[in-house]
Symmetry: C2
Subunit: 453 residues, 2 copies
């Protein structure tokens, strides 16, 4: 079954650490899975974590623990370890992609030192290769651990090739078929090999229709591709089609989750990847920036309203609906922006022309704007004494919903064109701009209608 | 390589359909992958889609196309097909989990009819079994296609068992090891089997440490578990530990993505799963409900302000900062709520007591509130003539940030306790409540300070 972290378990473990009961602590580490050990890091101090982690006897597991820690925790942990320990106890036993990530996270001056202390020369070479790729590309996600067979092998030869290579690969999802130039020609599954009759040739049983990616493909696009085709592993090739490595589904799931979280956080006005369990200072730092952006924007909004002081003093009832106009503009704008942002993220938005997108958005906003404006008109018609106010508020609400919806559609599309993350359009910056424009629209309409009626 | 849907491709395809060029159309269908065929559905009308889909010769592919369509598209498509065609052309060739989903989507009166027309009795039995599980549980996600070997088999016997079963399983990720009572004892990988020496016994090479789930486990929890342990497939067992089926990573990725999208949409104030490519009417229907909730809330807000008419008429400058107070309360509240909602979704929030959570949130809000209030005080101190206003606005901003943050933390925790989706707390309902309370706080503080100063 799986492990559940409880307060009791933690208290017992900390007691074991404090008593320096090495035997017991090593036993607990031997029983736990790597990812569960990584999970308890947050609840320990650095000395306790160091004591425990160095007691992990299985080297592969120790390496996995380090790979599973989040970037901040890992940096703090590796800072207190000498280069030799990092290289021999951890890096030497990691998959090449995890190893490259860990080394990339070290301070620049330590990276070379640690790499030089790696005993497995092939591993060191793979790491140096992998570090040359941008981390947001297929190359940055791939690992070098792949199993290949030659297209001219027969099944027996292929199986003996696999035997030779299997040590370094944890999970063989596909066996890749290559030719003399190491160009990827296809895949063959273990099932096929296991069930093939003696003497069959790889070229007769392999699958030619393989989906692969180039090393420079964007990580997000790779994740969308693997999600669409339900791929458990994706081979990565260079410009010539030569096989470089493979990306496994777990790393792509991480990319998807991070993208989704980034968009979610942007909409919440949070600027860093934080969790409720983080320290107060980190939570504050993640939240203050967008609050300040909102504050400055709204100060400008107050300045705009100050320009209408006389009007507001004469018709105080105009003020009653200021929050309504601002809020409804914000709501409509965020709806539009978030639909566009999701469409851009999953690539579903490309089939329509920009004009058609804007027209569609206008239609939706028109219907919703009319319905909301009519309801508000009805309410004020019965409960307000001033027909000028009744008309102003309804016309302004309609106009603001239209404006905010179009603005909310246009801004993420424009940001995307400019190669800026369109998710910004769902955050406080745009909501605040929407507020300001909304107030301007409202007060202008008010100015006209109160003069006319 | 992979397929990219272009306008040109579509125009050509539609021309082929209109010319009734069956040979060419069948050729195109033979070349395309199932998921790509499903993707073009949106760009065709029902007759065109029917014409094309019935020309798919490979039955497995035809079944996959149906499985890949989204629920709405599928219902519309199946409505125009007779029961026999659905059963024999599609259901008979689907994985049991997809088949059960498709049948569950049919109108109640058709379900029995279609099931009776399935020729493969085992498949029909599996579907009936699977339909008894709630779709939001492990049972609702699992498929019956698994490969099992007996714990007392030797490797040769095991391989011949696998040969017998392999036909019905697309991707063998693990071979499950069971005993006489069909109780799950562990797994053995194909690699191990392929590389095992002749005469080895399963019981000496299988992996006992397997992570499994009970059929009644919630889908979201299953997805979190597989994400945490990077599992490509998860076996599902009953109360006695007997193996029922397996869930593959692609279905769990879908669960994760749907959960993330639901939370995102809730925060955007969208009530249905829509995409920008959907019809105007659907987009409108998904967006209107929360706009109306916001509208009604803000009408109440305007009513609250109407209670302060004299105050607003006397000190018109108070109105300048109404949108600021409302917006900042909204921003702070959404930040808090979204962090709690994410923590609840990924289970990372459980280690702290509710008191500690609230205290932490208070600390963060206190720091951010002080910083924002001081900045606003400084601005007004230099640019406003009224010290009463300067003080009112700053004190109110501080109070509103504290209130909204605590409210934003408390509401999702309470909803979670009440077994209501906590994501509602990030939507317009709570933002609007926050607005109303914020305005009350602001006007009350204004009332006190303008009298005193």
């Amino acid at each position: 079954m799986h492990f559940e972290l409880t307060r009791d378990f933690l208290d017992n473990l900390i007691e074991v650490i404090e008593k320096k009961d090495e035997k017991k602590a090593a036993e607990v580490m031997a029983e736990m899975r790597a990812v569960d050990i990584a999970e308890i890091y947050d609840s320990l101090n650095l000395d306790q974590a160091k004591y425990l982690f160095l007691l992990i006897e299985d080297r592969e597991k120790a390496a996995d623990v380090i790979a599973e820690l989040d970037d901040n925790d890992r940096s703090r942990f590796l800072k207190v370890l000498p280069d030799e320990v990092i290289a021999s106890k951890f890096i030497d036993h990691m998959d090449s992609d995890d190893a490259a990530d860990v080394i990339a996270d070290l301070p620049d001056e330590r990276q070379g030192e640690v790499i030089q202390k790696i005993k497995d020369i092939e591993q060191a070479g793979d790491i140096v290769d992998l570090m040359s790729y941008d981390e947001d590309t297929a190359g940055g996600l791939m690992g070098k651990e792949i199993i290949t067979v030659h297209i001219n092998d027969d099944v027996e030869k292929a199986i003996s090739e696999i035997r030779k290579q299997v040590d370094e690969v944890d999970d063989i999802y596909y066996v890749y078929v290559v030719d003399n130039d190491y160009i990827l020609r296809g895949t063959v599954s273990l099932t096929k090999l296991l069930l093939a009759s003696k003497g069959s040739e790889i070229k007769d049983i392999y699958n030619k229709d393989v989906i692969y990616v180039r090393a420079d493909m964007k990580a997000e696009d790779v994740a969308n591709l693997s999600d669409k085709y339900d791929l458990v592993a994706l081979p990565v090739v260079d410009e010539l089609g030569r096989l470089l490595g493979r990306i496994t589904f777990d790393d792509l799931v991480d990319v998807m989750r991070e993208e989704a979280e980034k968009d979610y956080q942007m909409m919440s006005g949070i600027s860093e990847d934080v969790e409720h369990s983080d320290k107060i200072w980190r939570l504050t730092r993640a939240r203050l920036p967008w609050l300040l952006v909102g504050l400055i924007g709204e100060i400008i909004g107050s300045k705009v309203l100050a320009g209408y002081e006389i009007q507001l003093a004469t018709h105080a009832a105009l003020a009653f609906f200021l929050p309504l106009i601002a809020a409804m503009g914000g709501n409509a704008g965020v709806q539009s922006a978030s639909i566009v942002v999701q469409g851009l993220a999953n690539g579903s938005i490309n089939m329509e022309s920009t004009f058609k997108k804007i027209f569609k958005e206008f239609s939706v906003a028109f219907i919703n704007g009319v319905i909301c404006a009519v309801i508000l008109f009805g309410y004020n018609f019965f409960f307000s004494d001033s027909f000028a106010l009744t008309l102003t508020v309804s016309v302004a609400l309609f106009s603001v919903i239209i404006f905010a919806s179009l603005f909310g559609t246009f801004v993420p599309l424009a940001l995307h064109k400019l190669k800026i993350d369109p998710a910004i359009a769902t955050g406080p910056f745009i909501t605040t701009s929407n507020d300001i424009f909304g107030l301007l629209i409202y007060m202008t309409i008010g100015g006209i209608l109160f003069t006319l009626i």
